[in-house]
Amino acid sequence: MFPNLFVLNSTGEVLIEKHWEEKVPRKVVDLFMEQQLKKERKVDVSPVIETPKLYLIHTRRGDVILLTTVNKETPPLFVIEIHNKIMQVMYHYFGPAINSRTIKENFVLIYHLLDEMVDGGFPFTTDINQLQAMIQPPTIVNKVMATFANSDSVKKALPEGMLTKIPWRRTGVKYHSNEICFDLIEEINCIIERNSNVSVCEVKGSIVCTCRLSGMPDITLTVSHPSLIQDAVLHRCVRINRFRRERVISFVPPDGRFTLLTYFLRGPCQLPIFVRPSINYTNGTGNVNISVGSKMRDQSKTIEDVKVIIPFPKDMLSSNLTTNAGSVTTVETASGPHREVHWVIPRLPKDKTPVLEGSVLFPTGFKPPHRPTLSVQFNAKSWNTSGLQVEGLDVIDVKYKPFRGVRTATRAGNFTVRL
C-alpha cells in the first residue's frame, strides 16, 4: 500500500527514511534527482515518475519533498494524500515554516508520528487531534517539562475514545470558559481578461470551526442559503444523512480548530476589488498605469493586505514607478524569466483610487516576448461574495452556555489579471 517514505530537501539530502515493506536502497533518490535536474523549474517535476523498476511518487511543499517508491499497482492519489496528511501533521507540530533543520531537530518525534500514522504500510491514525493525544507536539512547556521532570513526549496509554464511534473527539475535555467560533472564509480564484471580462471564476468557501468546549457537545448549525453548500465536502464528524435530508449541519465537534465543511461556487460572482492595468511599450520603454479599488457597495467594509505582483521580462533595465498609496519594490525572482514589481497597499483608502504610474526601461528596440499576468492578493473582512450566513447555532448535551462567534472574510486565492 504505502511501502516507504523518503523525506528529502530540494538538494536531495535524505532527512528521514522509513520502510514499511522491503527496504528500498537510497539510490532511488538519485533517480528522482536526475528528473529534477532535467527541469528548468523544480516544481515542474511530474508527481509520478516511471523508472524501469519502480514508480516514484512525490509531493513537494516548499523545500521539503516527500518521496515514495512503489513497485506494484498502487493508487497514486492514495499515496499523495498520505503525503499531504504527513505534511499537514508536520506543519501542525513544527510550524508552517518547516525546513530541513526543523525536520532534523525533531526526527525522533517524526518517527513516532510516522509509526502511528502509517501502520505497517496502511495509513491509520492521521487525525491531528488523535495524534496529539498520543504524541505531544514540541511546545516550549513540553521542552521545559522534559528538562526538569524527564516527562516523555510519547504517551503511555492509548487516547481514550480512539476506537469509539467518535474517534475524532477525546473524552474528558475541560475548559474554563467555553467558546465556539466559526470563520466563514471565501477564496476567489479567477482570471480577469484584458477587456475586464471574467473568464474563469470560482469561489472556494469553507466554514472553519474553532471549538473550545467542555464535555461532549452536540452542535446544530443552520445557514442562510443551504443550497449553496449542497455539494460541500464535509468533515467526518458531520452527520451525513441528516445533512442530505435536512441541509442542517449537525455534529459532535473535534476539540480545537478544524474545517467543518468546504463548498464551491462555480460561475460568475461578485468581486470586491477591481484592477485596471495598462502597460504600453514604445521604443523600449514600458509605460505603466495600474489602478485598483474597492467594488463593494457598502463603503464601510474595508479591504486590507492588497498586493499586486507585476512580472516583467528579465531584460528590464530600471524602473521608475510611483504610487499614491502603499509602497513599490522590485524583486528578483529566483528562477524563470521574470523580474517582479510588488505593489503593496496595507489598506485600500476610501478617499482616492490608488494608482501605480511610471515607466520601465528596456534596451532599445526591445519588444516584450509575452504579455504578463498580474496576480493580486487581498483580504476583504466582514464580507463574503456568496452571502452565506450562519442563521442558527444550537449546542446541546452540555450544561453551560458557550460563547458563540461568527466571522466572515473573503480573500484572493488564485486571482489573476491578464494584460
Partner: protein, 923 residues
Amino acid sequence: MSSSSKKSKRTKAKKKEKKGPGNDSRYFSSTKKGEIAELRRELNSMNEEAVKDAVKKVIASMTVGKDVSALFADVLKRMTTQDTELKKLVYLYIITYARSSPKVVLLSVNSFTKDAKHRSPLIRALVIRTIGCIRLPDVVDYFCPPLAEGLKDPDPYVRKTAAVCVAKLYDISPEAVEEHGFLKTLRSLISDHNAMVVANAVAALAEIAESTSKDVFKITPDMLNKLLAAMNECTEWGQVFILDCLAKYNPTAKQAETVVERVVPRLIHANSAVSMSAVKVIIKYLDVVENTSMRSYVMREKIPNPLITILSGDKPELQYIALRNINLILQKEGKLLDKHVRHFFCKYNDPLYVKLEKLEIMARVASNDNYDKILMELRAYGSEVDEAFVRRAIATIGRIAVKLDGAARKCMRVLLDFVKANPGGDGEGKERMVGYVAQNSVAVMADILRKYPNRFEKVVDIVCKFGVEGYDEERPLAAMIWILGEYATIIEDAPEYIQGCIDRFDDMEERCQLALLTSTVKLFLKRPDDGKNMVQGLLKKASGVVENPDIRDRAYVYWRMLATDAKVAQQVILSDKPKMADDTGKLDPSVLKTLMSNLATLASVYHKPPELFIAGGKESFEMKGHRKSDVKYDDSDSDEDEDEDEDEDEDEDEDEEEIKERKSKIKSSRKPNSEAQPAVVNILDGIMDEGPATNASPALPLVLDSTKGKGLEIRAGFSRKGGNIYLELGFTNRSNTLLDQFAIKLNKNFIGLVPESPKMSVSPISPGGTGSASHKMLIKPESANSQMAEGVIQIALKTKVGVLYFAANLGFDMLFSEDGQLAQTAYLQLWKSLPNQEADVKVPSLSVSNPEAIKSMLRSSNVFFVAIRQAPTGTHLYFSLKVKGLPVLVELTVNGTQMVGAAKSQDLSLARKSLDAIANKIR
C-alpha cells in the same frame, strides 16, 4: 551545530542545558573515532535516560545512513525496559536491522513473547507491528503464536494492527499464514464490531489477494452489506480500502443500485483518494444498473462534481492524477464535462505538467458549443512565458480545428493572429528569425490545410507574405515548404521562395530536405517554366552530392518518374492525399475498458493496461506456477536437444556418449510419456512449430485469460534447447476471428532477452482452436536493463485481435549454460579458492530423494554432477554449473526427505539465485 556539540559530547549534562532536550539535531553530530564503542558504553549505562539518549543517537546515525548494526545486541538488551518511549525506540531500531542479524532476532523472541502479553494495548500492538516488519522467513514460526493472540485481542487497536500484520507475514511466508489459519481469522474480522478493524482486515485481504492466485477474498452478498455499513464508520483510509474492494466485485443489477446509492455520498470527500475510488466504483456499477434514469442522473449530476473539486484544490499533484483520470473517463463518457470546460483553463502558476494535461482535456472536450470559449483561452496562452506550454497550446488549436469542422475557420484566424504578431525582425542573425510562436502556428496551419484542402487560400497568401527566410525550426520550415509546393499556383512568388530554400539546402534537416524535394517537383509540375531549372539543379544535387540515402532515394524516384512520363508523375505527386483525423491519445476500446475498471490506479495515470505493472505484484503467484511447469519444460527440452545438437554445434563440451546416457537416465527416471512423441516428428520437420509446444501448453502457466486477451488465451513459459532460450507459447482462440500472423516484441528486461526475429511462425488458429509456438530468443547483454524486475519478461504480441501485453516468467535455471561441467579436481580447487561466504537453502520435504533421480533431474537443466559422498549426516552431492559465464559450485546434502543446500560463486547473488532455482526444481 557540529563544533559546539563535539565538545558537549563529552559532558552530557552541560549539553542538555545548552541545547535543550526538545532538539533532536544534537544526536546527528558525533565524533568519528570510537563512536560505536562510545555508544555501546552508553547503551549499557544504568541510567535509563542516558540509554534513551544513546538509542536516539543510534537512530540518528541510522537516519544519515551510517551502519550501526554492530550495536544490535546491545540495543536488544534494552527491550525489557518499562519505559514506553525507550521501548518504542528499541523496536524502531530492530525493525531496521533485523534482516542483517537474523540470529540475534531469535534471541529476542522471548522478549517479544513477553511484551505480547503486556497489559498496555499500545505495547501489544507495538510487538505485532514489529513482527510484521521483521521480514525474516526463518523466524516466522516463532512469531505466529503472538500474532494469533493479537488477532483475538480484546482491544480493537491490537486487532487492527494484527490484521495488517497477517498481510505482511503472507508476503514473507504464505505457508505459515495458511498453516495457522490466519486467513480464516482475517475473514472473520470482516464481521468485527469495530469499523477500523473491518477496514484493515479488508485492506489486508485485498493485499494478499493481489499477490496470490488463490481465491482468498471472495465477496459474498452478506459481506457486501457489512462492508457498506463499515464504510460509514471508518476512517477515510478505511473507506478507500473498502471502496477499492467493492470495485473488484461484480454485482447484480439490484446490488449495484444499492451500492451506488450508498456510495454517492462518498463522492465529495476532502480526501481525493476517497472520492476517486468512489467514482471508480460508481462508474463500474452503473454499467450494470438497469434503471436508466438513475444511471444518467448519477452520471450527469454526481460524477463531474468530485472531479472538478480536485481541480479546484491547491495541490498540483492531485490535480495531475485527476486530470489523467478525467482524460480516461472522457473517452468513455464523451460529453460528461462539456459544461465545465472553464475548469480546465490553465492558471498562471500551475506547474507545467498540470497545464499540459489541461490542454489535452481542452482538446478532448471541445465541441461545437464551447469551442469559442476554448479558442479565446488558447489565444491568451499565446502570450505566456513558458515556451513548452505555448507550443502545446498552439498544437491544441490545430487539434481542435481538425476535430471540429465548424471551428476550423476560427482556429485559422487565431493562428494567423499569432503569425502576424510575431513577424521576423529587421536585424541580422538571430534577430531576423520569426518568433517561435509564429513558426509553430505555421506548422499547425499546414495540418489544417491538409485536412481542409482549398478552403483557406487567402490565409496561405498572407502567411507567405512574411517569407521563409525567418524560419529556423525544423517542423515549421518543412510545413512552410510544403505549403509553397502545394499552393504553388496561388503563391505568386513561390519560385523565388523555393529558390531561396534550395540555396539553404545543405544546412537543412532531413525532414525539410525531403519536403523541399517534393515541393520543387510540385512547382515544376504546376508551373513548368518557373520550376524547370530548379528541379534539375536540385535533383542533380540530391542524387549526386548528398550522402543521406533517403534523400538520394527520393531524388532518384522523382528523377525517373519525370524522365519517363510526366503525366504519371503528375498523377502520383499531385494526387489527393488521404484525409487526416485527430486521434492523439485515443485508446483501443478494449484497453479503455480495462483502464476504466482501474481508475485511480497507476495504470490510469499511464494509460497502460495493468498487466504491464506486474513487477513485484504477481511475482509470488508466478513463482508457484513455475515449479510445476519446470518439469514439463524439461520434457520438450531434452527431446528437442537431439535436433538442436545436430543443427548447431554449441554443445562442444559434451560427447555423444554422455548425451545418450543422460537421455536414457531422464527417460528412465520418468514415467513413459507418450505425449512427448510428437516432438520427434517435429525434428523431422526441422521447423519449430506445433509439436512440442502443444504438449507443453497445458502445463504452461496462464499469462493472459481470454477476457484480457481480447478472446485469445495465452500460456507462456521459457525453455532451453541447445544453448538457446525459447519462448513457449500456447494459444486458445476464444474469439471469432481466424488468427494468423503473429509478431512479437519484448520490453527491455533484466538480461537483455530479445526475439531472434519479430515475426513468429504459428499455424493459423481457427476460432475455438488451439495453437502453439516456440520462438527462439537471443541474449543481448547490451540491450539489458538492470532496473527491470528479475525473472519477469514483458511481452507484447501483435495478433489479428490487436496488440496483447503479458508477462512470462524466465526461471533463473534457464540461464544455466551448457558448458558448466567441472572436473572433480577443478571443482575442489575452485571451492577452496572462493571466499567462505556461501548461499544456503533448506528444503524440509523433497519430492524425490533418490540421488540418481536428483542427478538426472538437475542434469536436464544444465546442473552437472561432479561427485557423491556418503556421510553420517546424509548423502552429499556435488554439482557444478555455469551462469552468466561464472561457475557456481553447489553442494546438496540429502538426508531422508530433507535436503540442505549450499552454493558458492564469485558472485554470491548468483550462487543464491542458482541454489533457489535448484531447490525449486527438486522440492
